[in-house]
């Protein structure tokens, strides 16, 4: 660090900026960010603590390991849909038809695989292709005809539901074979203990590995770098938390493979959104469409990719829910699936107004949503009450988002 004294680092030459280097200063920086409306993951953390206290007080089974394992199974289906919602929300658009799309995909798998005798892989592929096609249609309506996504997907909500009912025919429900790999995946396949413990180490190790590389590069380029202490502390806290969670879940059945698939998809989407040109363009279009266009970004193609990704992930979510329920029915994808997927993304910190969000918001948000739904089910509440409570939670999430946005604007962090 001898160069520090002679020549200031490139990003440290302006004395007006406070640099949070020590741990105490970092904590202060975090509090400042929250005050200015940059809430990050805070609502999720608070939400989970409140939910755990309330429901475990009402019914101790709520925090039992096996109930949490079931919770993770349920998270995966709607969570995958929510990942797609994050993509359209980042652009400031919406897809209201994800529930119907997932229902249609689940019906297609049932009809093509069980009734028509297609190979399972073919049926799944067909459902995903139809999902991509629906997304392409929305993107075309938006790009060429200027149809607001709100209206186009609202029309899609009805049309896709109609198609789902049509292909299911008069019986209305198809049972999937219990012994099949698809149903086993959705109901019983659990990761071996040793593998789950090993995988829980990976995020911490990657964090340290990447942190060290970035640190070396930044110091070599005469830029300031994150202090080692903070890096190791963060990685240690993350690893301990993950290992503890894995240990607790392994007291029950363990980590479902289906949840692992969901987490894997979230990690891939997070990488794409934060570390690729595509992701940067997504946030640019969501922040200022005209500026993005003038920078040479193909805005239409960005919209197309987001709508297609959203519908395809919705179809995948539908397939997962078929495997979870071991059936394709008229009820698949109806009810609160749509709103749960959107609420999960918003609760996790993705803004409805575009330009802000993260793949992990779907991951954390869906855990909150499913925890509420699971807790209410354990209390044996009727679905009328469950709908009202879930609706209230969604409203609160959106209010928090709006207030945080207003605060960000006034603090110059929009």
């Amino acid at each position: 660090m001898s160069q520090n004294s002679s020549q200031p680092m490139l990003d440290r030459s302006d004395e007006r900026v406070r640099h949070d280097d020590s741990l105490a200063a970092m904590a202060k920086g975090f509090i400042d960010r929250v005050r200015s409306g940059d809430l990050g993951m805070l609502p999720v953390a608070v939400g989970l603590v409140v939910i755990s206290f309330v429901f475990s007080a009402l019914n101790p089974i709520f925090l039992a390991p096996n109930n949490l394992v079931n919770l993770l199974f349920d998270c995966a289906t709607v969570g995958v849909i929510s990942l797609g919602i994050v993509c359209v929300l980042v652009l400031g658009e919406i897809d209201l038809s994800v529930g119907s799309m997932s229902g249609l995909a689940s019906a297609m798998v049932g009809v093509l695989w069980v009734n028509q005798g297609w190979p399972i892989a073919g049926a799944i592929l067909a459902a995903l292709v139809v999902g991509a096609g629906v997304g392409l249609l929305y993107a075309t309506l938006y790009n060429r005809l200027g149809m607001p996504s709100f209206v186009a997907t609202l029309a899609g909500l009805l049309a896709l539901l109609g198609l789902q009912l049509y292909i299911l025919g008069p019986t209305g429900s198809i049972n999937l074979p219990y012994a099949s790999a698809l149903v086993r995946f959705g109901q019983i396949l659990i990761m071996p203990d040793w593998l789950s413990y090993t995988l829980a180490l990976v995020p911490g190790l990657v964090m340290i590995g990447r942190g060290l590389r970035t640190r070396t590069q930044r110091l070599a380029a005469n830029l300031s770098a994150q202090p080692m202490r903070a890096l190791i502390l963060k990685a240690a806290v993350l690893t301990v938390a993950l290992e503890a969670a894995v240990f607790y879940l392994n007291l029950g059945r363990g980590i479902p493979w289906m949840f692992a698939l969901f987490v894997g998809l979230a990690i891939i989407l997070n990488y794409a959104l934060t570390r690729t040109k595509w992701g940067r363009s997504m946030f640019a279009v969501g922040g200022n469409k005209e500026a993005a266009r003038r920078s040479g970004i193909n805005v239409r193609r960005i919209y197309m990719s987001a709508f297609m990704l959203c519908s395809t992930l919705a179809a995948l979510g539908g397939i997962l829910s078929a495997s979870r329920l071991a059936s394709s029915s008229q009820q698949a994808g109806t009810g609160d699936v749509n709103l749960n997927a959107i609420a999960a993304a918003v609760i996790g910190g993705t803004s409805l107004f575009g330009g802000r969000g993260s793949a992990y918001s779907a991951l954390l948000g869906i855990i909150v949503i499913q925890a509420i739904s699971n807790g209410l089910t354990l209390l044996n509440l009727s679905s009328s009450l469950r709908y009202m409570i879930t609706g209230g939670v969604l409203a609160i999430a959106v209010i928090v988002d709006s207030l945080a946005r207003r605060s960000r604007v006034s603090h110059g962090r929009a």
Binding site: D11, N222, W278, G296
Partner: protein, 272 residues
């Protein structure tokens, strides 16, 4: 970025417009515009509000397509269909509204659409390049990792100018580059324009500030109601310029000047 043409020699045309018109429905914003910008030359576009300056810039930036007329870039006839195409050819623009994404940080805005290593963004290299570029402009940006929303108007202007230089353009267009700037930064921008010119680039600058225009421009092209209305040199008298801009020797500026002169004389006469 692949350069399709090398930089033309000094004195040769970078861009030449002939008969360019642009209609918005029944309104003709530009009519038969002729414009020629040579390498190593600063051309100022002046004109009253609504004279078509910004429309002309947007046509050259690929934002609007001309209704008729031809555009030659480095001696070849081109059609500027999209902003991306204009950028790739080497036409960089600083728009009046700056066109920055407020939710992204300074580095992301500078490299928007032209990020280094698209599949694994090289943030360190981009940040170093950003600091170097901003330092060349003597810019006072506190941190390149803050969102644009937290910057002042002048700082945003600097970021927009820095962005236009990033891709080593052959022609750079600045729409009101000094409007939001303080005294020192205005001087820096004017210095910068001269440095860019000396590197052999063509520069088009739009400004309402005649002082700035005279300071850097080699030629002053006047637009009035979407048409060419004369070409002047910085040595031309203020009166000639203003009458070309307003379209009459008897205009509000000259009337005001006459009135002030009259008042001063009366005052003088009264005191005597």
């Amino acid at each position: 970025m692949t350069a399709t043409h090398s930089l033309p020699a000094k004195g040769q045309s970078v861009i030449r417009l002939s008969g360019v018109s642009k209609n918005f429905g029944a309104v003709s914003a530009l009519t038969d515009i002729e414009l020629d910008v040579k390498a190593g030359e600063v051309v100022a576009l002046v004109g009253d509000n609504g004279a078509g300056k910004s429309t002309l810039v947007k046509v050259l930036a690929g934002v609007h397509q001309p209704s008729s007329g031809t555009i030659e870039f480095c001696g070849q006839q081109v059609s500027l269909d999209t902003p991306a195409k204009a950028l790739d050819m080497g036409i960089a623009t600083v728009f009046q509204d700056l066109a920055l994404c407020e939710n992204l940080d300074v580095v992301a805005n500078l490299f928007l659409g032209h990020e280094m290593s698209p599949w694994a963004l090289d943030e360190v290299a981009m940040e170093v390049r950003a600091w170097t570029l901003l330092r060349e402009l003597a810019a006072r940006i506190p941190s390149v990792r803050e969102p644009i929303a937290s910057l002042s108007g002048g700082q945003r202007q600097t970021v927009a100018i820095a962005r236009s230089l990033l891709l080593n353009p052959k022609l750079i267009m600045l729409d009101e580059p000094t409007a939001a700037l303080g005294v020192a930064q205005t001087a820096e921008v004017l210095n910068l324009i001269e440095r860019v010119r000396d590197r052999g680039l063509g520069v088009i600058i739009i400004s309402h500030n005649m002082e700035d225009v005279r300071a850097v421009a080699d030629r002053i092209v006047v637009l009035r109601l979407g048409k060419n209305n004369g070409i002047f040199t910085p040595e031309s008298s203020n009166q000639d310029l203003i009458s070309a801009i307003t379209g009459a020797t008897d205009n509000s500026v000259s009337r005001r000047a006459d009135r002030k002169a009259g008042e001063a004389q009366d005052h003088h006469g009264g005191a005597a």
